[in-house]
Symmetry: C2
Subunit: 474 residues, 2 copies
């Protein structure tokens, strides 16, 4: 793997190829061989697209060719959807500069546990090296890079951004992209590298570390052949931008499962945690944590300290918020005297009663809302971050629930947008049996997300994400 020792691996044309051929392209709309071609069209890929299929004349609107040898020019990227048996021959066709990168969607190599399949994979690596072709995969869905017009599924979000994601698993990459988009993440360079035969996560990390378009890096890793190289690459990346890593296959059962999935050797949980921490990465232990951490990193940035202001919801929510913040290592500091004095001017009886977290229910009739308190708190200089609970269930019980909830959320959005500290918004998980309430919560969440704000379904998840991004405790 010659590129591994370079400072900046040359993977530009993998993520942003000037031309793409899809070998095993298909007219069957229910097949990956069709999806890869159609994706290029749907994502507006600007260069030539060459479906390769000896029996078709046209696929998804592009002229089809019988073989790679029939193409009018060399291509930057070949995507392979053919069976494993044909891959050695395909590599021969890519040799001599006919293709720079070969992405093997093709699977059933070492991950099957079959020794013959593992031997074939070894030969693939050897022949590709000799042919001067870089391999992504096998057993991976490849590249999703909306700004470059490349995607592994035609239905994925078209919006682009600065969040990169590396994933050993394909279905996990799809889930993270779809769920992340719903949270407001705009994705840049996403790679699903599968068995990681040639282009490894370490090389991809080093590339993204130096990629100016990449602002945040997330990764899902089951196991790696060379832990030391990955560790160095993660460290290189983490000095430049936030890096969040979901390490799966941490348990014995998880490692067994990883081995049959991508033939990965998973390694011990404690070792990985320590290494990730030392490398400056933030560790996630589930996809949910990964998405929460990427959302916080991309939309809120790192808080300067650990002092948290919490407002909203009733008394029970305040107690639960305080527990969640402190158990995650945030400092639920008292309300500063300056804020108490501002409260005293408007509602004297509240001035010595109200606390951080602010219990919204005791504000009733005072003329002060939790938004008013939030505004005083974020402006006070006494906090490094804020969590705003909406507590929509309270609104649902009032007349004009929709108008009131909308009004409160609009004001909250305005405060959060101009706040000098990160403000995480907690809008419940839409768990209500009432249809209009679900739709309303969904709509409001979409509006927050469109405004670039970070929304979490529970205060526990908001506190977790903010705490992991904050500087370590003294």
């Amino acid at each position: 793997m010659p590129a591994v020792s370079d400072a900046r691996p040359d993977l530009d044309l993998l993520f942003a190829p000037r031309s793409v051929a899809v070998v095993g392209a298909s007219t069957n709309v229910d097949s990956p061989g069709h999806d890869y071609v159609r994706s290029l069209r749907e994502f507006g890929f600007r260069g030539p697209v060459y479906p390769i299929n000896p029996k078709a004349s046209e696929i998804a609107g592009y002229r089809a060719y019988p073989s790679l040898a029939d193409l009018p020019e060399p291509v930057d990227l070949v995507i392979s959807c053919i069976p494993a048996e044909g891959v050695l021959d395909l590599i021969a066709q890519c040799a001599g500069g006919r293709a720079k990168f070969l992405h093997l969607f093709t699977a059933r190599f070492s991950e099957t546990g079959d020794p013959r399949a593992a031997e074939l994979e070894r030969q693939v690596a050897e022949r590709a090296r000799a042919a001067g072709v870089r391999i992504l995969g096998p057993n991976g869905m490849g590249i999703y890079h909306p700004a470059g017009g490349v995607a592994f599924r035609p239905d994925l979000p078209k919006a682009a951004g600065g969040v990169a994601f590396l994933s050993q698993s394909g279905n996990n990459a799809v889930e993270v992209v779809i769920r992340g988009a719903a949270r407001g993440l705009g994705f840049g360079k996403v790679a699903n590298y599968g068995n990681g035969l040639d282009i490894t996560p370490a090389e991809l990390f080093r590339y993204l570390a130096h990629d100016a378009a990449t602002e945040v890096i997330g990764a899902y890793i089951e196991g790696v052949p060379d832990g030391r190289a990955l560790f160095e690459a993660v460290r290189e990346a983490a000095t430049r931008k936030p890096v969040v890593i979901h390490k799966a296959g941490r348990t014995q059962a998880g490692a067994r499962s990883a081995s049959s999935h991508t033939a990965a050797l998973a390694g011990s949980r404690e070792l990985w945690s320590a290494a990730l921490r030392q490398a400056g990465a933030i560790e996630a232990r589930s996809q949910e944590q990964l998405l929460d951490l990427m959302t916080a990193a991309a939309l809120l940035g790192r808080p300067r300290g650990r002092r948290v202001a919490v407002v909203g919801g009733g008394g029970g929510r305040s107690v639960q918020s305080a527990d969640a913040c402190e158990e995650n290592g945030l400092e639920v500091v008292p309300l500063p005297a300056t804020v108490r004095e501002r409260v005293r001017e408007r509602a004297p009886y509240l001035a010595d009663w109200v606390q951080n977290p602010v219990d919204q229910s005791i504000l009733a009739g005072s003329g002060l809302s939790s938004n008013a308190l939030l505004e005083m708190m974020v402006e006070s200089g006494a906090f490094d971050m804020a969590i705003a609970n909406i507590g929509e269930e309270w609104f649902f019980g009032r007349p004009d629930a929709e108008a009131r909830l909308r009004h409160a959320c609009e004001r909250l959005a305005a405060i959060a947008r101009r706040s000098p500290i990160p403000v995480a918004i907690v809008l419940g998980a839409t768990e209500t049996p009432v249809e209009w309430q679900r739709r309303l919560v969904d709509t409001i969440r979409d509006e927050f997300v469109a405004a670039g704000l970070a929304v979490f379904p529970s205060v526990e998840r908001a506190a977790f994400a903010l705490a992991r991004l904050a500087p370590p405790r003294r």
Copy 2:
């Protein structure tokens, strides 16, 4: 508190009063004094309802009376929405058998931190004892018991069931009822006891322990005046039915917040955990965990052992599922030989490759679905519980996504309904930017819930709940 020493506290008429008076009833539709009266109408309360308001002739369709003294008969339950200053006088009016139970929605007592308010609360307790009136509250929303026609908000779910819930916090009770209903929980007796001045959580637990209509008990507790009595009561209840307790105010910040909320002294986290475990209760550390545990207890019951079968989703999901199960202490045992042989008959190449968890992506083209594997596994006798991942993001990318997803979910529902072991269904958190996908997931979840099945938004949450309900590890 004389009733505390009885075997079964006499609280029947608190939850199912034959007549109710609402003092401080209001014609203002945006006030609790209106909501309590309207709730009785909306929930079809069968006995007489007496709104008390000297200035109104009628409230929510019921004839209003100027005072308790003007009522034609004594009442079982009086709900007080008047300010704290009027409560001593109200107790005097309840004396002499005029009212059995007085629920004080009225707040601003000891929870304010004001010594005069705390002294007033002390006097309330003393006078009520002398007057022979039992007090629920103060500073609590009181009773929600849909089968008895009583509720603290008119918009709460009307469906009734066997799940009881005790909550120190009112807004938390509302959230748990609404969110629980969306998960399929049918509630029976729910009490929000606020400051717990007279009727304590211990007494309520003992009542529910012996209540034949109560099948599962959940509770949200910030702190208690008498931990020993609560411990004994919880133990009494837990020998008879599953008990799930969310103890909040575990941290210093949480305890401070609890004190300003319901004047509760919260007590240390470790002490509580040990006591709950010893009493046989299952501890939740967040509302989310509480709801997951109540859902599992009510809809799945306790598994007989810790061996888990997992199917569905792609390879990444399988690895993550294995991690989640093992980290929660479940046993991800290998696929039994009997199942492998059944697989071999249909797809020989899969028989030695497929594992538990079953990676759905390797089944493609085999004629076997994850539902087929699930059915073999639940029938095999080798597992004590199953988790079925749906992995809806895969379906979203296929033609006829809706029809295929619906078909798979219908078959899954049929298998889960007749399974001899509990089957938890994992249907993602509806986190997609695409409107039709959200609606479809919501609709399918509602259909599972209507069929009495337990749905969790992630495999981690399903594994957590099942593991806590399973017998302890040997």
